[in-house]
Subunit: 121 residues, 2 copies
């Protein structure tokens, strides 16, 4: 029942965001960034490697998004941004808007997302 997609997208988006904020990151920085244990992150990164969304530098442990991973991360990030903005636009407290956007960003269909995006423009 629980969708693998959701967790994958969340991790990729968080990798992208963490990189934007912190520069190159390793698993341990990512874990701190998202507030999960390094064990959980380790397992998740293993899956992301398997599905070729990221590579991890052998020597440094630095995480890199592949083209595929970056595309997904950016798509999710865009959704996140637009949804947050939309809610703020409607008068929602930015902190809450942020949190809500994060929760629904994976679930909305492309069609609904585009409709919302067009609407706030």
């Amino acid at each position: 029942m629980y969708n693998k997609k959701e967790s994958t997208e969340d991790y990729l988006e968080n990798i992208l965001m963490a990189q934007k904020e912190l520069g190159p990151i390793r698993a341990i920085e990512l874990a701190k960034y998202i507030g999960f244990t390094k064990a959980s992150v380790s397992v998740a990164l293993k899956k992301l490697k398997e599905q070729e969304s990221i590579t991890v530098d052998q020597d440094t442990g630095i995480i890199n998004l592949t083209e595929k991973g970056r595309a997904l991360a950016e798509k999710t990030f865009e959704r996140h941004t637009i949804l947050t903005k939309s809610l703020i636009c409607l008068g929602v407290n930015p902190v809450i808007a942020e949190r809500d956007a994060c929760k629904v960003e994976h679930l909305l269909s492309e069609e609904s997302f585009e409709a919302i995006k067009n609407h706030i423009k």
Copy 2:
């Protein structure tokens, strides 16, 4: 991690909707209505009974929402309705709007929901 709230609300909302459409229902009708097995529904109803959101008639098996259960069901149903309408309002295909509303209805904060509700008025 996964929130008990979501499943509970879904069941209560579905009970309410099924009752509106079909009149008084038992577990078996509910199972057919939502497309789960009667075993799954049986277990879920047991939990709903424990938390006093429903009662089940000893003789007939008819499910009744308690005051508490009805309040929750109606709150969720209202969210569902408003969110669906909002998306349709933005030009989303009604079938997709319906589906998306169902997915996000549990996740939005009260504040965001109210903001959306006010906006489409």
